[in-house]
Amino acid sequence: MSLKIPRNPMPTQDAKERIKNFNEVALGYTKETAIYEARRCLQCKRPLCMQGCPVEVDIPEFIAEVAKGEFDKAIEIIKTKNSLPAVCGRVCPQENQCEKYCILGKKDEPVAIGRLERFVADWEAEQVAKEVERKKSTGKKVAVIGAGPAGLTCAGDLAKLGHEVTVFEALHTPGGVLMYGIPEFRLPKEVVRREIEYIEKLGVKFENNSVIGKIYTVDELLEQEGFDAVFIGTGAGLPYFMGIPGENLNGVYSANEFLTRTNLMCAYDFPNSCTPIKVGKKIAVIGAGNVAMDAARTALRLGAEESYIIYRRSRNEMPARHEEIEHAEEEGVEFMLLTSPVEFKGDENGNVKSMVCIRYKLGEPDASGRKKPVPIEGSEFEIEVDNVVMAIGQGPNPLVPSSTPGLELTKWGNIVANEETGQTSKKGVFAGGDIVTGAATVILAMGAGKKAAKAIHEYLTEC
C-alpha cells in the first residue's frame, strides 16, 4: 500500500461519440483496476472518510475486501448501510462527501471511493442473484410517500428491521428523480430498476399511480388505512420560473419537463415512444447546477447544434459538480457566464425565437457568502434560440403539505422536521429529503431517509 500509486482514472466514452448516444458516459472500473485502486487505501485506524458519508457506509472495511478480491463480502458490507450503492457510486458528489476527508487527498488524490462502490454494486448485478433474507414481521405498518432517494432509503431500512412498508408513488414507476430527472447517460435506468428490485425483495410494497393528498390524505393513512407511521419524502417537485416576459412561449421548458420527457417518457426514442420533445438548433439552459448540466448535455444528444449554459454569476460560483461541468465542456456545451435573460421573444406562432440578456458583474458577497451579481446597465444584447430550459431550481410540491392539517411548514412551503429524526409537528409523521431541505443532493436525501427510518423504528418500538 503506497502513496505512489496514482488514483486510477475512470474510463469514459469519447466525447465526440457519446454526444450521439444516451449510453452511460463513465464506463466503470475493471476488476484489476478496482483491486489496484483499493490497495491505495491506507486503512486508517480512525477513518475520516466515514464522517463524510450521510448513510454511514463502513468505507475502509468494504475497500479492504475489494483489495483482497472478495467482492461479495464488500457488497454485503455496503448493503447493510446503503440500499442504493450502484446509484450512489454514480451520482454522489464524493468530492464533497467521503473523498473530501480521505487522508490521501491532503497531499495527493483521495481514494476513488465512489468508483469502488459502483464497481462492487455492478459486479454483484452480474452474479447469480442471492436470496434476500426477510426479517420476521413486527406487525407494524409504515407508509412512505414518494419513491425517490429519501423514500427508498427509508423504506429499505425499515424493511430490514421487519416493519411492513408500503411506498406510495405518484408516477407510474418508482425512483423519483433517479428515473425522471437524472439522464440515462449518467445513471442508466436499468441500474435504478435493479436497486428498486432489491428493495422489493426486502419486502417493501410499491403502490404506483397513487397521489397522496388526492387518493388518501396523510390523516387517512394513519386513521383508516392502518398505518402506524408515515414518512413524507415527496421531494422538490415544483419548478421555478423567473417571472420574466415571454416565459410561457412555446419551446420554453422547465428542466423538470425537459428531463422528464426525455428520461421517464423516453422522448429520445420518439416516435417509437409516444411522448415527443422539440429541440431546435440552438438551446439555452438557464442555471448552472447539476440539473442545468444534465439538460444542456441532453440537448446535444437530442440533436442541438449549440447548447448554452446561461448563468448570472461566474465559474467559481457554479453549483454543479466539477465532474459534470468538465463533461459538459468536453461535449461542447458553451458557457455564457455573468449573463441572464430578461425577456424571451417569440415568432408569429408563439414559438420562442430569441432571448434578450443582460450582463452582470460581481459585487460584494451576499447572504449566501457568494459575490452578488450586479446587472450592468445598458448591456442588453439579443441571441437567437430555438428552445430554452429553465433550470433555476425547484420548490416543494404542495400536494401533501396542503392536504395535511397540523403539519408545520416554512414560509417557502417546506416541511419543518427535526434534522436528526425527521420528526414533524405531527405525531407519527416524519419527513426528509428535498421536501424538508429544498432541492439538494441524492445522498443528502438518502441520509435523511436513513435517520428517519431509525427514528420511526424507535417510535414504533415505544408505542
Binding site: 405518484a170 397513487s210 388526492k214 422547465s254 415527443p276 400536494l399
Partner: protein, 280 residues
Amino acid sequence: MYKIIHQEKIGENLGLLEIEAPQIANKAKAGQFVIVRIAEKGERIPLTIADFNKESGSITLIFQEVGRTTLRMGQMKKGDFLLDLVGPLGEPSEIENYGTVVCIGGGVGIAPIYPIARALKEVGNKVISIVGARCENLLFWVEKMQAVSDELLIATDDGSVGYKGFVTDVLKQVLSEKEIDRVWAIGPMVMMRSVADVTRPHQIKTIVSLNPIMVDGTGMCGACRVQVGEETKFACVDGPEFDGHLVDFELAMRRLVYYKDEEKRALAQEQCHGGGCGCH
C-alpha cells in the same frame, strides 16, 4: 392494471370506457381529471372524469379518437386493462347553491360538464344546460343531461337536432330572458372563449375547464402552464377550472398545437405499425 368493465361507441370517433378504479371513484369530485397511460412506451394523457360511481367502484372516461393513445383506447374491449391510471387530479369544481346556473357542454365537453351539472343540481341550483355538437351523430348523453337539468337546450351546427347554430347563440337567448348567476362552459377552446365573450358584458362569472398538454399531472413539470389574469398557473394543480374572463385563450391555443407535427408523425407511425405488425 385497471380493468375495463364497459365499452361503448357513443358517436362518430367518440369512445366511452368504464374502468374499475374503486379508490379513484371513492374520492372523485366533479371537475377533476385522471391521467392515463396504456403502453410501456405510451404517453401520459389527461382526461376529465365524465362520471364516477362509488357503489360500483368505477369511473367513466369519454374521449375523441384523435391521437395515438385515444385511437388505441377506442379499440379496447370490455375485460382489457389500462396500464396506468392516476387520479383524481386537479381541484374539484366549486359547487354551491348560486341560484340559476347555465352548464354548457360542447362536443366531447358534454362528458365533463355532466357531473358538474349533477352536483350543481344536487345542492339546489336551477340548472339550465346547453349541449352542442356539429351534428346529431356527435351528440351524446342527452338523456343523462336531461335528468340533471331543469331545462335542456340543444344546438347543432347543421340543425340536425335542436337549434341550428352555436351554443353561444342559445346562451344569448337564455341571457336575454333570465337572470343567470353563474355559467360553466366546457368544450373546444374557441367555444369556451366565445362563451366568455358573451357573458363578459353581463358580468356573469364564467368557469371554463382547460385541457392543456400535461406530462405528470401533479405540478412537477409545468408543461400545462396557462396565463390567468396577471398570473401563470399550472392547470394540473391550480385548475383545471379557471375564470373564463381571465384566461389568455390565444396563448392556451398556441400552446396546445406546439407538437402538432409530432402528433401527425406519431399517427402515421401508428397507422403504419397498426396491429403491431412492425412491417416497416
